[in-house]
């Protein structure tokens, strides 16, 4: 489902990712941890073709990202849903419109869209906000809209970048619960977070720790820990 081998990425002289290798099977759940600037967002951006893969190889949902032509990118992104760290929702559209957008670009029919959007919005506790403009929402509410838009399409792979940064423990747990639910139905989930609390509450999930662009710890065999004599401890 998701295969990363020897992936490196640099911004000018700065190496944001170095020689990362790991693979995930269909329906697995991965927590991606690492302190600020470790390379979590960079890794996720490479996985949904927002950054080009220059070194190493990445295969996502059967697409080889090293050789993906630009016109195939929309196809990839219909398999891979993303919750962005900075939300990327439209402030001048309502909650409903922002969430429905992801279904509309797929050309689904209106009745189906309506049912799915309302179900997901209810699940995230936003039903009273559904017709409000997103620009008028609180930080946590906006974050939940971002999550709603990514899960509404029932993706094969779900990438979530810090999806609980603006939520308190209770809401965060509820959101993780929603991700878990999709995971149960076969979605592969990659969740980047800095919160060790959340990770600790789900010991059964895969975990990967980045430090300065290198994988420094992992709790399953599919990941290659960077063996440069720095740190090789499993979390």
């Amino acid at each position: 489902m998701l295969n990363v081998t020897n992936l490196s990425h640099n911004f000018g002289p700065y190496w944001a990712l170095k020689n990362c290798s790991f693979s995930l099977d269909k329906g697995e759940f991965l927590f991606l941890t690492g302190s600020s600037g470790a390379g979590k967002t960079t890794l996720l951006r490479l996985l949904y073709a927002s950054l080009p893969v220059m070194r190493g190889n990445v295969t996502v949902a059967g697409y080889n990202l090293r050789a993906l032509p630009a016109r195939k990118v929309p196809d990839l992104r219909r398999q891979v849903s993303v919750v962005f760290q900075d939300f990327k929702i439209l402030p001048y559209r309502t909650v409903y419109q922002n969430v429905a957008m992801a279904l509309e670009v797929r050309g689904l029919n209106q009745v189906h869209i309506d049912r799915r959007v309302r179900a997901v919005v209810r699940g995230l506790g936003l039903e009273s906000r559904i017709n409000m403009l997103c620009g008028e929402l609180s930080g946590g509410e906006q974050q939940r809209v971002a999550v709603a838009r990514s899960v509404v399409v029932n993706p094969k792979i779900l990438l979530a970048d810090e999806p609980t940064g603006n939520l308190d423990e209770e809401l965060a747990a509820r959101m993780i619960g929603i991700f878990k639910q999709f995971h149960m139905h076969g979605t592969t989930v990659v969740l980047a977070t800095h919160s060790s609390d959340i990770v600790r509450m789900h010991p059964e999930a895969r975990q990967l720790r980045l430090e300065h662009g290198k994988i420094v710890a992992a709790n399953w065999r599919g990941a290659e820990i960077f063996s440069d004599g720095i740190s090789e401890v499993h979390v």
């Binding site: 016109r71 929309p74 509309e104 670009v105 797929r106 399409v153």
Partner: protein, 290 residues
């Protein structure tokens, strides 16, 4: 298909998102169209005027003093039968003298009382403006007129010809580039405003791409918006031009000038609407390409 119409509708509805920017853009398109149209109108009418009053070719024919009246009258009849003739004025020596003296004050009676008129038989023949090889046609006509029996000399009025020729030269060497240039200005201005108004939608485009929208899905509403802006702007511009023309058209329309301003021909007016529309489409397309 259903999706396509939805996208068309969205293109129209999206105008409401940034009404101020859209209105400003619309006004810019309108004004630029209006300006371009005004220039076309001015050039077209001047051109027209020159063709009608100046472009026509007039010849003055003078017969010998001893020409036989019968031969002259026959020649006059044949003149009227010539191809493209607009008007033939003929003067017997008496009439010529009378006409001449009428331009003098109080009808210089002395002149009229002269036993025999000192003036020859005269005719003025005017041909409509013709395109094509005017020079050689003129040469041929001149020869034909000179060949009429007893004709002493034939003249054509030179100033009018010169102006007409200069204007045609100007038209052919400068009008085409000037028109192309105007279209370029239009494209530039419309494209500019479109591009800038698209800046405010960059976020939306970025997000649509990120959630898996295909290119045509993103571009259709933008194209519709651009085309709508261009065509409505063009339409308003032409409407404004029409209003302006309506107010101005009789300014020069008095005796003895009778110069009535004409509106643009239909094809030019249509172009003034179609070109901004096309430019709107194209510039929207270009704006989302990168």
């Amino acid at each position: 298909m259903r999706v396509f119409f939805k996208l068309l509708g969205q293109g129209v509805r999206d105008i409401a998102l940034h009404p101020w920017a859209q209105l400003m853009t619309l006004l810019a398109v309108t004004f630029i169209t209006f300006l371009a149209g005004l220039m076309l109108l001015g050039v077209g009418n001047l051109d027209n005027e020159l063709r009608v009053t100046r472009g026509e070719v007039a010849f003055q024919i003078y017969w010998k003093e001893n020409a036989s009246p019968e031969r002259v009258k026959t020649a006059w009849r044949s003149l009227r039968g010539m191809d493209g003739v607009v008007e033939v004025l003929t003067y017997t020596p008496k009439q010529a003298l009378k006409d001449l003296s009428s331009t003098l004050p109080g009808g210089s009676r002395g002149l009229l009382q002269a036993e025999s008129s000192p003036l020859p038989y005269t005719a003025v023949i005017k041909f409509a403006h013709r395109s094509g090889d005017v020079a050689s046609w003129k040469k041929a006509t001149l020869a034909a007129l000179k060949g009429l029996p007893d004709v002493r000399s034939v003249r054509s009025s030179s100033l009018k010809d010169e102006v007409s020729r200069a204007w045609q030269e100007l038209s052919s060497t400068f009008m085409a580039p000037v028109l192309v240039f105007l279209v370029l200005i239009l494209s530039m201005a419309v494209g500019n405003t479109m591009k800038l108004s698209l800046i405010s939608r960059q976020d939306e485009i970025e997000i649509l791409k990120l959630v898996g929208a295909k290119n045509w899905y993103i571009r259709t509403p933008l194209l519709v918006g651009g085309a709508l802006l261009g065509s409505v702007g063009g339409l308003l511009g032409v409407a404004g031009l029409y209003a302006a023309w309506w107010n101005l058209k009789d300014t020069f329309n008095f005796a003895p000038l009778y110069w009535e301003l004409h509106f643009l021909p239909v094809d030019q007016a249509l172009m003034l609407i179609l070109i901004p529309m096309l430019v709107g489409c194209v510039s929207s397309w270009v704006a989302v390409r990168n």
